[in-house]
């Protein structure tokens, strides 16, 4: 492998995708949106820079039409950006010869689609084996592998069903099994659960977390649901009108939103479950009275809220036996109800 362990698997530099005729002349980014609209040019993605590490679950969020799908299609090499480059392990995806790109897709990338994209003429087994069939794998071998995948997503016994005989959740499981059949390293999921109802959706998220724990892929996941992002993401990127507004962990986005747009996304997030003791600790004052107890730094607030609530005294936040700082009832409540945070918060623009 050409790169060291923590070099990004996938990166993009100044990627822009403008739809419309003669769109390239607007690449310098100086034109006003109105000017582009007058020329019939639609900016879907504008000047995006990203680096996604190996094994990371990277979630892209944004309102409808903010360019998420377009960005992920650029990252997957499905559409060529108008400007900028997409690097897979340091190599420009669009400079690769056709043959190599096909090999790359066959063996190292997988994708799950919002509307499942199952082939209507194939059974569950046929659909899951499809990528292997395309690779030219012999029938017995690819069906064995497909059966494994079907079992993995919990659809054992339905191998001979056709897509139209399955529920939405089951269909998406097929989509997931199919995208995993070739054992890709890089896994794209474009709003895979948006078409599902909330209960199944929740179940599928758990399923995905379970799979990720087993398989440990590099994941690029799109959603417009912050809860979903929080449940799955290592890092979250927020997009608005084609631009990347902020990239960070859920905690960072909640505590330090770069704009009101980001704040609006995080407003209804379950803070008690996301924020950890580390995020809200403060340095103890000189006249601090004795501490009531100790809390591990990585515990979410929900894990110790009752204890802290019960007393006026602060708790010590510890990690590896060291005390990092303290938290008390008042600071905790401030954070939970979203009152402007004292101390580390920078004023939002």
């Amino acid at each position: 492998m050409p790169s060291s362990a923590d070099a990004p698997v996938l990166a993009c530099r100044h990627v822009s995708k403008l739809y419309g005729h003669g769109a390239a002349r607007f690449l310098d980014g100086r034109a006003a949106p109105e000017e582009m609209a007058a020329a019939g040019v639609i900016p879907a993605v504008i000047d995006v820079n990203l680096a996604i590490g190996r094994g990371e679950t990277f979630v892209i969020m944004g309102l409808s039409g903010s360019g998420k799908s377009t960005l992920v299609r650029c990252l997957a090499g499905l559409i060529e950006p108008t400007g900028g480059e997409v690097l897979f392990e340091g190599r420009d995806l669009f400079a690769l010869p056709e043959r190599e790109l096909i090999q790359l897709r066959r063996h190292r990338m997988g994708m799950v689609f919002q509307h499942f994209a199952l082939l209507p003429h194939l059974t569950v087994l046929g659909n899951v084996a499809f990528p292997l069939d395309v690779q030219g794998m012999p029938k017995a071998q690819r069906e064995a592998r497909a059966r494994e995948m079907i079992e993995l997503v919990g659809l054992k016994g339905r191998e001979a069903y056709f897509p139209r005989e399955l529920s939405g959740g089951q269909q998406q499981r097929v989509g997931i099994a199919r995208s995993l059949a070739a054992d890709p390293e890089l896994w794209f999921l474009d709003e895979p659960f948006s078409a599902l109802d909330p209960l199944i959706r929740r179940e599928m998220q758990d399923e995905l977390k379970r799979l990720q724990a087993i398989l440990n892929k590099t994941i690029v996941f799109i959603t417009h649901d912050f809860d979903e992002a929080v449940r799955l993401a290592d890092r979250i990127a927020i997009m608005k009108d084609g631009r990347l507004v902020q990239v960070g962990t859920a905690e960072e986005l909640i505590l330090h939103p770069a704009s009101d747009y980001v704040r609006a996304f995080t407003r209804d997030a379950p803070r008690a479950k996301i924020l950890t003791a580390r995020a809200i600790l403060r340095t103890p004052g000189p006249d601090e009275a004795g501490i009531a107890g100790m809390v591990p730094a990585s515990t979410p607030i929900a894990g110790f809220a009752q204890q802290v609530e019960a007393t006026d005294k602060p708790f010590a936040v510890v990690e590896d036996g060291r005390i990092l700082g303290v938290i008390d009832r008042r600071a905790m409540m401030d954070v939970l109800v979203g009152r402007d945070l004292a101390g580390p918060a920078e004023p939002g623009p």
Binding site: R73, A76, L78, I102, Q103, L104, R105, R106, H107, M109, G110, M111, F113, Q114, H115, F116, A117, L119, P120, H121, L122, T123, F130, P131, D133, V134, Q135, A160, Y161, F162, A182, F188
Partner: protein, 666 residues
């Protein structure tokens, strides 16, 4: 708020001006028609011979040159056409040997048959076994009944001739159409090049390309098959292209993400995903192939088509109807079989059907045994005469009875329509000076679709005039116009009435489907019997053939009106009539216009066929060119029909689009 008011002003003013436009055009037209002919120069009706373009002669000369002396290096053009004919002859010869002639050696009267064709009981057994396998006992029953009809009514021999050519032509047309459709999908440039050719192929009357085929490929079943393929292929291309376009974008992305090569994408994703829509194309090809059977028999196809044609010429109504129905039976059987096969291939694999080998080996063994039986005992192979019957005499008797009993009524009816409708319209059309028609066509084009359409319409009219066919074109417009008028006046109310009544609508749908499956010639026979030859007969045949889309699209449009709008109307207290006139009809109007468009297209294609009953328009021109094998005359007259069809199509489509936009439907 003043801005909306300002914006609203022009659309209010516009309709008022527009409402005046067409009455003015109408008034001028009336004036021109009523004017004594001497008021305008004569060339406005009849072009002096010296002005005419000698296009027909040039086309004839070109084809003659092709046949006589064109060559690519050492390879003469005529060798090329012979080679094509030779290649196509192989599958056809095989199918004919199997079903009709048996395997023979030697030529003509010296031919020695060393093995007979499949006897009728083997064919019936195989077909029923196939039907049972793919479509269950219902289809098997239908198959048995259909083939039984052919046997009992003595149509078997001819039906096998027809079946042999259909079994070769239809798959070739499907495969060819699929290939062209794939090419269109892969390259937008190819699509751009092919689309106008498709337009032309679908609007030029079939007779017009029979002539060059006849000259290039000679008289015989192969020529007939080539004509059939050419006729059935364009709709397949269109349907395939549309089916591929409808494949979801995500599925395309999936194929790419799986690392499909172009070929894998086409055959593993594109075609299978589009298959249900493609089956519609197969259905169309089968229907068109069988529709062509009669026309193809004019250049040597033989079979059922030939039987209908000769019956028509002898005015033998019973024989004609029996053979015509046999064609319909074949069409229905083949179509249902193809549909069932498509469904079976989707379903069969996992729902525990018996392994194909365990089914087909016994079936084929039995068929072979039956075949052998026919070889060993030849008399077995003919269906016993005692079991055959014919309704021909009964039909003949029946028509004679009607003719005798109702002669006066029928004649009075015919004369009334002739005197009050056909003759006046004919006079009117012939009295129109062509420069005015060209002007109006251009103006209508400009109003509906802008400068491009205006120029196209103008060029079309001028072409017709300067090849010297204006008079024929006027007669075409007259017959076609009257027929469309009648079809629409009858069809639209039927559509409106049936659209709201679920059961009735289903019955009407079956009726118009049947009307469209019947080969168009079949209509002619009883009508000719009742009304003898002439424009009136032609009109009735055209109306019967072309009324289906008028009904279908009207009902579709009405049934497609969004439910919330209807509910809004009800909530506002509309009566049933108001609901229809204020809400449903305006919204259904674009669809209805498309129906009128289709009606015109069908009317034009039927028009050529009615040349057989002695009309005197472009259709007759094409038909007599065919009879004299005059390539140039046939092609030019055919082009004129195509031009009329295309101009009408573009004008109406553009108008429908404009209307749709105005109603905010697109």
């Amino acid at each position: 708020m003043s801005a909306p008011a300002l914006e609203a002003a022009p659309p209010l003013a516009r309709p008022r001006a527009a409402a005046l436009l067409w009455p003015v055009v109408g008034a001028i037209t009336a004036l021109l028609v009523l004017l004594p002919t001497s008021a305008l120069p004569g060339w406005m009706w009849k072009l002096p011979p010296s002005w005419k373009l000698p296009l027909a002669g040039e086309v004839s000369a070109f084809v003659k040159w092709l046949v006589d002396s064109a060559a690519l290096g050492p390879l003469a053009f005529i060798d090329l056409t012979r080679a094509i004919a030779w290649v196509l002859d192989w599958p056809l010869a095989l199918a004919r040997a199997l079903l009709v002639a048996g395997f023979t050696t030697g030529q003509g009267s010296q031919a020695v048959q060393w093995f007979p064709p499949l006897p009728w009981f083997a064919v019936v057994f195989l077909a029923v076994a196939l039907a049972a396998r793919v479509g269950g006992w219902r289809l098997a029953l239908l198959m048995g009944a259909g083939l039984g009809y052919l046997l009992v009514f003595g149509q078997w021999a001819s039906a096998m001739v027809t079946l042999a050519s259909v079994l070769v032509a239809a798959p070739l047309a499907v495969a060819g159409g699929l290939m062209v459709g794939i090419a269109c999908h892969r390259s937008p440039r190819a699509e751009k090049a092919i689309t106008p050719l498709l337009d032309l192929a679908q609007t030029v009357p079939v007779f017009a390309y029979l002539v060059p085929i006849l000259v290039l490929f000679g008289f015989g079943p192969v020529s007939a098959m080539i004509a059939t393929i050419l006729y059935a292929l364009p709709p397949m291309v269109r349907i395939a292209a549309a089916a591929f376009r409808a494949v979801p974008e995500e599925v395309v992305a999936l194929a790419r993400m799986s690392g499909c090569t172009r070929r894998q994408f086409t055959w593993k994703v594109l075609v299978p995903t589009a298959r249900p829509a493609l089956m519609l194309g197969v259905n169309q090809v089968i229907l068109l192939t069988l529709n062509m059977v009669i026309i193809a028999s004019m250049i040597g196809a033989g079979g059922l088509g030939y039987d209908v044609l000769t019956a028509l010429r002898r005015l033998a109504i019973g024989a004609g109807i029996e053979a015509g129905l046999a064609i319909t039976v074949l069409a229905i059987l083949l179509d249902r079989l193809a549909q069932a096969m498509a469904r079976a291939s989707e379903r069969g694999r996992h729902h525990g059907a018996r392994a194909p080998r365990r089914y087909w080996l016994p079936v084929l063994a039995v068929s072979a045994a039956l075949w052998l039986a026919a070889f060993l005992a030849p008399p077995l192979a003919t269906f016993p005469d005692s079991l055959q019957l014919s309704t021909a005499a009964w039909w003949d008797e029946w028509v004679r009875w009607i003719n005798i009993t109702f002669f006066d009524t029928l004649d009075a009816f015919k004369n009334a329509v002739l005197l009050n409708l056909l003759v006046p319209v004919k006079r009117f059309m012939l009295a129109l000076p062509w420069p005015w028609v060209a002007l109006v066509a251009a103006f209508a084009g400009w109003r509906a679709g802008g400068a491009g359409l205006a120029l196209g319409a103008l060029a079309g009219v001028l072409f017709i005039v300067f090849v010297g066919l204006w008079e024929y074109a006027a007669l075409t417009l007259y017959l076609c116009g009257v027929s469309v008028l009648v079809a629409v006046t009858l069809g639209v109310p039927i559509g409106i009435f049936a659209s709201g009544r679920e059961r009735l609508w289903r019955a009407v749908e079956v009726a118009i489907d049947t009307l469209q499956t019947l080969p168009s010639f079949v209509y002619l026979i009883p009508i000719v019997m009742l009304f003898r030859v002439g424009d009136f007969t032609a009109m009735i045949a055209i109306v019967l053939y072309a009324i289906a889309p008028a009904i279908r699209y009207t009902a579709h449009g009405l049934r497609g009106v969004p439910a919330p709008l209807v509910e809004a109307g009800i909530a506002n207290g509309c009566t049933r009539t108001q609901l229809l006139t204020r809400i449903k009809l305006p919204l259904a109007l674009p669809d209805m216009l498309l129906g009128v468009n289709q009606t015109i297209m069908l009317a034009l294609s039927m028009l050529v066929i009615t040349a057989l009953v002695g009309t005197r328009d472009l259709g007759q021109e094409v038909y007599s060119a065919l009879a004299k094998a005059d390539v140039g005359r046939g092609v030019v007259a055919g082009l004129c029909v195509a031009i009329i069809a295309m101009v009408a199509d573009r004008l109406i489509s553009a108008a429908a689009l404009r209307l749709k936009r105005r109603l905010g439907l697109s």
